[in-house]
Amino acid sequence: MSLESDNPLDRAASLEALLFVGSEPLSIEALSRALLCSEEELIAAVGDLQTRLDSSGSSLQILSIAGGYQLATRPAYSVIIGRLLARQRGKLSRPALETLSIIAYRQPITQPEIEAVRGVGCASVLTTLIERELIEEAGRRAAPGRPILYRTTQNFLHYFALEDLADLPPLEDAASPDEVRSAMDSVDP
């Protein structure tokens, strides 16, 4: 073990350097390999660095996002940054968000299955979501017509600041046909 890796403070600073050069989320494995430390030590270093960033009044924070760690600015600085940068393309439309949430929970899923839930066609919405790299094709369903299956991408996780799909809010339980029936019976006189 080298001298730096015995010193937790230096390790935190080394981690900061790694996160600075990483322009995408860096996995625990990649970071611990570079720092020659165990994954537990790395997680401790992440905590140390975050504490240091907090106490020094830094505008940066460590985010656990899309399966790795990444440095990001804190939300409070968004207004200032907005004055510097040019405006990006707009937010997602409501049809896009609805379609995306159906795909997120039910993936892999075909276009007809999405349309059955929404009650409207969604071909153009799917094209938009693919262009924005929020969804991608995931093979085809072994069913008549071999319809294309869709799933969400890593970029989807990043777009909503999620670490993984398990971070999605729990969906209300689906009502089974029996439950619907009994609920309807109970209101009938």
């Binding site: 939300p75 600085y77 609805e98 009650g119 309807m184």
Partner: protein, 277 residues
């Protein structure tokens, strides 16, 4: 989303903001403050049809989905007026059941979509470093297999546009293709085996003379990747794509190239790699 009752004496600029028939139905149910499990179908159907008529008066083209739902509502309404046919199992089936189930299912996802909307706004307030061209000795390696068919397709299009390959005139006599896919595959495989550092993706296309030849070369490359003879590797974001020979079960390049030109393709290739290993 607030929907007020239309005033006939006012100019109409309110546009439908519904995401489909299910969304409109849920709105009507909410406005009427009725129980979703006990929808007063006559009342809701009337309002639904009124809304459609209103849109038609505005010369809006109605999506077919709205008309399908209108037909469904009218059908449910008429079935509720009829006495239920006697059934042996004595379970009375409410004609509204399927519709209610569909509305509930849709409602689940609209809730989730609202959450995503909030998270999108939160995430938009965070900024990350952009990928920059780094002049250092090292670059961030791409994750294994993160290169997709889409990336290759993009690279192909950029080569095509950069080369400015002219399309043959429409009136041209179409010559017989002298180069087959297999011959092209063997050609590329030989070139890849000849290049120790890996063959730049562009180089398999640059010598080509027509768009059709480019397409053939591209297809041959995809086929070689599919059958596992070569790999496409990109060492950094926006980096050049390199074609490298697969070292596992590659065997003698000449023999491998030979085997590709013999039909049938798949079985011959797998046999050849078995011998080579």
């Amino acid at each position: 989303m607030t929907v007020s009752t239309p005033h006939t004496d006012m100019p109409r600029f309110r546009l439908p903001v519904y995401e489909g028939p299910l969304d409109l139905l849920l709105q009507l149910i909410r406005e009427n403050e009725v129980d979703i499990y006990d929808i007063p179908i006559a009342q809701i159907t009337r309002q639904y049809l009124d809304r459609l008529a209103e849109w038609q008066a505005l010369d809006l083209v109605l999506a077919g989905d709205y008309l399908v739902m209108a037909a469904t509502l009218v059908e449910i309404k008429s079935r509720m007026l009829l006495p239920a046919p006697p059934r042996q199992d004595e379970i009375e089936v409410d004609p509204r059941e399927a519709l209610v189930a569909q509305l509930l299912e849709y409602q689940r996802y609209t809730g989730a979509a609202e959450t995503l909307r909030d998270w999108e706004a939160f995430r938009a307030s965070l900024y990350f470093r952009n990928a920059t061209e780094i002049a250092g000795d090292y670059i961030l390696p791409m994750e294994q297999s993160s290169l997709t068919g889409r990336d290759l397709h993009r690279a192909f299009l950029s080569v095509l546009s950069a080369a400015g390959v002219p399309e043959a005139p429409v009136s041209a006599v179409v010559p017989r293709r002298r180069v087959s896919l297999r011959v092209k595959m063997a050609e590329i495989l030989r070139a890849v085996h000849g290049a120790a550092e890996g063959l730049p993706f562009e180089s398999i296309l640059s010598i080509e003379t027509s768009r059709a030849d480019c397409v053939l070369a591209f297809l041959a490359m995809l086929e070689l990747i599919r059958i596992g003879r070569i790999n496409a590797v990109q060492r950094g974001p926006f980096g050049d794509i390199q074609l490298v020979a697969r070292t596992d079960g590659g065997g003698d390049p000449a023999a491998a190239a030979e085997s590709i030109s013999d039909p049938p393709l798949r079985s011959t290739v797998s046999k050849a790699s078995g011998v080579g290993a």
